[in-house]
Symmetry: C2
Subunit: 348 residues, 2 copies
């Protein structure tokens, strides 16, 4: 998706490792007060004073997590940052710094890496995280991106996976399933393109889904929203691996059960239309799809009035005693045991 | 180098991502007081109170940074941790936590990953760093390891690359070049083995070199040693990319020149013998070899008496005005401009 038909191609090896790092990182500005020293020494130096430090890491592999046939490099760089920032948000913390390590095969020219770093820079600016370190090296095949995000929080606001209690309400932000269906649309277009490279895709009916897949955003606003509502979640988790597997994680770590209500799942109208077009069950996609960088959290029953009707949040269920198990309650009011069928990058 | 002729091979995909992470990380103990929460949530939580936080990251790629033909997986895991801890040591800081991300192709059975994690665990115990996070995923080809190390230091003890002054003494720890020659010995044995798989290598004459290549150690002792000698280095850097390129980094960032003396380079007798055997100039290897996880630092001239004769340290040169340039002074007392020919993982 590098649109220029006559792109300039500069071999990465011409620059050497240090030259390449200097070139790619020169646009990273330091904006966080906690960043004492960014890129350019053996390590970055951070200063969090009396705050707690939060750290998360993710690795993205070409052919496993993304396909460059429809994922522009700039979007990939943006999404790689978002997926890490989302993990920090899921601690109810504020992302402050990231490190970025890249391995690329020599089929990538410098201009491709520049695009990737443009996306990283855009996300770093949007989420106000300082890029404070990294590594750039060769791969035998494809592109691999490893990002570590660092954040800060007061001890009192930190939210773990193990704090949910029986009778707590289960809440999800935004809507779910759209990123997965965006991927299905892009996969279909790729197949059409392979058969007829001159076909002009008409993607107007899918813009929201494609945006959810190619340019997701992390819910950095949730911390502020909850703070304003005077709600402290009892537990919280990022659902980018799929709602069902993350509900199971929350329940196991909190030693509780859960009833999830099918009719409460927040689905975008475009998502519902496209599920019908693809003849796929929308509930199955919504609970198993993954890549929705939304947050799942539990709140005390007495906080119900503070959150009801808020367009940012949907109450989708409630926690139960552990012995009651983890169930989806269908529209027909039957209870089905919830299984983790979230995305599995290890499966063959 | 998995020696068992009838190894058990368990497919990684049987476990799934979460099962695999649980299985591989169950031996990681938390020993650092600053680790509030380790593996098992969206992010780890760290608490450094009034200390400064130091962060460094490195990516290792099969076929680029290591060859599994002679690098046992356990050693690889150990070395991957060491190389990151070394960067923290080079800040004159103490490593406290690491995150470990791994991508593997499905040719690796579970037992191979267990070996890798055994090495990681061994190093984590040796260096007293807590493994607080990570990611495990598939690769299209080979094994990729990305480690981020976190450390702590008082602001006053932190040592950067940009603090060297003209007339400062240039000091290196340990000896240099041995890791590179260890690699040459292993490469030669691999070629012999490819021709005759029944050959029994006699590596007695090379034990030190091979150990430096396969099981290097980070100089966590240097911080304590310097503290005891009441020396605060003016600048410091890790030389795993090669002495010459790191001297140039120090000089550029500190805006000074340098005279490095060939006859002061600390070389192990085994290293000198093997350079003769391979008919390679020992000075060239010593200053360009890389993978010696030693530290290079500068001290004020008046600290000379505190450090002279100390077996841990060799004074190998002194800093000059920037305009005088960066030179190697040979045994014949001629001055040669120092060039960075450190290892370049980006070159084709």
């Amino acid at each position: 998706m590098i649109e220029d038909k006559n792109p300039q191609r500069t071999s990465i090896s011409q620059l050497g490792e240090f030259g390449l790092i200097d070139h790619l990182t020169k646009n990273f500005a330091i904006t966080q007060a906690s960043t004492l020293k960014g890129i350019g020494d053996d390590a970055a130096v951070l200063d969090f004073k009396d705050k707690k430090v939060v750290v998360s890491t993710d690795m993205l592999v070409e052919g496993v997590h993304f396909d460059l046939a429809y994922m522009p490099l700039k979007h990939l760089g943006y999404k790689a940052v978002v997926s890490n920032v989302s993990d920090i948000c899921a601690m109810n913390a504020k992302a402050t710094q990231i490190t970025v390590s890249i391995a690329v095969s020599n089929r990538f020219p410098l201009e491709a890496l520049e695009e990737l770093f443009e996306g990283i820079t855009l996300a770093a600016n949007e989420y106000k995280v300082d890029v404070v370190g990294g590594d750039t090296t060769s791969s035998q095949k494809g592109l691999i991106i490893s990002i570590t995000a660092i954040g800060e929080a007061d001890e009192a606001e930190l939210t773990y996976r193990n704090g949910a209690k029986s009778n707590d309400l289960l809440v999800v932000t935004g809507d779910i399933g759209a990123a997965y269906m965006g991927l299905q649309v892009l996969e279909r277009e790729k197949q059409v393109f392979l058969v007829n490279p001159n076909s002009q895709p008409d993607l107007d009916a899918y813009t929201y889904l494609i945006e959810r897949q190619l340019k997701p955003e992390a819910r950095k606003d949730v911390r502020t929203l909850l703070h304003a509502l005077e709600i402290k979640p009892t537990s919280m988790i990022d659902i980018s691996d799929g709602l069902s597997s993350e509900i199971i994680h929350l329940c196991k770590q909190s030693k509780v059960g859960c009833n999830l209500y099918e009719d409460k799942l927040p689905l975008d109208p475009q998502f519902i239309n496209v599920c019908e077009e693809f003849d796929i069950d929308s509930t199955t996609v919504a609970i198993n799809g993954g890549e929705d960088y939304e947050l799942l959290f539990t709140i005390k029953m007495e906080d119900f009035d503070k959150i009801k009707g808020n367009p940012n949040f949907s109450i989708i269920g409630h926690m139960t005693q552990e012995s009651e198990g983890i169930h989806l309650v269908t529209r027909a009011n039957t209870k089905i045991a919830l299984k983790a069928r979230g995305w599995n990058p290890i499966a063959e």
